[in-house]
Symmetry: C2
Subunit: 267 residues, 2 copies
């Protein structure tokens, strides 16, 4: 089935997920929406994020998508359960694939989760992990400065390292052996995170696992595209296109498709 996959995020971070989908499923066309006019979601409330997610899903449905990936941890944590019941289309997120990977990886049963304030406060990761194994110790830590630091381009900077070592100290004290990067921006500072946590801690990037889960879902539903996508992908944003394109080049190395503007509040 040649309908596209809808992927959305509060901004550019979700491109780290879109990239893994494009790599694993070259037959599929991706329609990406980045809510750059209202980014970031991390410090916003559940009510607000649910309202935003509904508008975006209504927009993606106008693009005739066959499945939707919420490529934003905050939106998954706060809105996925609600919108899943409201719309008649398969919707998956990045949280469950990340949790499953962390459960496979951990040996000492002490898992760390880093994310935005919204993601950590929701305790979505903790609840999902404890559903599978209530004996696992989960330590969540909100890292609100990581997104602005990444967007400022300080990917290998001493300031980012200092901020990271403060945020992560509580996780080191808990002796975690696996750390879930619970925000799509964080894979961009993998080097610093690994350095601060040390070699014995495995970093879990949910983007790769999410692409695998999407592949399974498409198989189960019999809606996988069978021929190579030669038309490229489509990108939409709620703020000006230029800024998005600039940052997107950092993540998607190949030539970007044109990006279009959408008045998302109209949906």
């Amino acid at each position: 089935m040649d309908k596209p996959i809808g992927v959305f995020d509060s901004g550019v971070g979700g491109l780290t997920v879109a990239k893994e989908i494009m790599k694993l499923l070259p037959n599929e066309k991706v329609v990406y929406f980045g809510d750059t006019a209202r980014v970031p979601y991390g410090s916003k409330s559940k009510e607000t994020v649910v309202r935003y997610a509904r508008q975006i899903i209504r927009f993606l449905l106008t693009k005739d998508v066959k499945a939707i990936v919420i490529a934003c941890n905050t939106a998954c944590a706060l809105a996925l359960d609600t919108v899943k019941d409201e719309f008649d289309i398969p919707i998956i997120g990045v949280v469950k694939p990340g949790v499953e990977m962390a459960l496979r990886v951990t040996k000492n049963k002490s898992i760390g989760i880093i994310g935005t304030e919204g993601t950590i406060k929701s305790e979505t990761y903790t609840k999902l992990i404890h559903k599978v194994d209530s004996g696992i110790q989960v330590t969540g830590k909100a890292c609100p400065l990581f997104v602005p630091l990444v967007e400022e381009g300080l990917l290998k900077d001493s300031i980012t390292r200092e901020v990271a070592s403060r945020y992560l100290s509580v996780l080191k004290e808990q002796n975690i052996d696996s750390l879930v990067l619970g925000c799509t921006h964080y894979p961009l500072i993998t080097n610093i995170l690994q350095e601060v946590m040390g070699d014995k801690v495995t970093l879990v990037n949910p983007a790769i696992e999410t692409a695998k889960e999407l592949s399974q879902l498409l198989d189960e539903k019999g809606i996988k595209s069978l021929k190579l996508n030669e038309l490229g992908h489509e990108f939409f944003v709620s703020d000006r296109e230029e800024k998005f394109e600039e940052f997107a080049k950092l993540i998607l190395k190949y030539k970007m498709m044109p990006v279009s503007h959408v008045n998302i509040e109209d949906y």
Copy 2:
């Protein structure tokens, strides 16, 4: 005239302006709106910020305000000129009062401006200064990490000091003698900014000057309130109330009035 003054900002920062208005004009009632669901404006485009400003002004008009203060440098820089012509109510901003003060303060005719990306890129400050005196050297510097650092509460932290010394180095090289705090969050890190710039540089906080300009405007129009406001003020936000109240306590030291939620996208 006992109608209230509308004051708005992208979030909590504008409370530093509201505070000066309440102090200088105790007869006036303030209706404050903080766009916490869409904060920050600093990295968003002109089109988006103009759309947001229009919605907020339409909302404030439902509260029967007699004048509006845009207590957000980004919104002033990107939207003030446009909305001033569109609405039949006096609207003032924080940029012009800040510029006037800087012009009075500078002796060596080298002025620095710090603000968000949107404010600095717009060159609003530079243009206004050069309208008065084209011989003045103006150096603008965007400081996108200051708002998240302030909102993370790192008001006196070594990380904020390190970020500040990087951002401000270009201003020190220009030998500025006055520095305009072109973002309403920045007065909260005055100590660090003064320390990094040294004693010889005067920091200009536009909030105080804005309250004075408002007072003049109300006199000119003959719409100043003549009896003490005993009813208190009103606060509205577009995201959840709790988070706003928490941060507002840092700025407005006295007991806050209750804060109400508004669906700003409906205006």
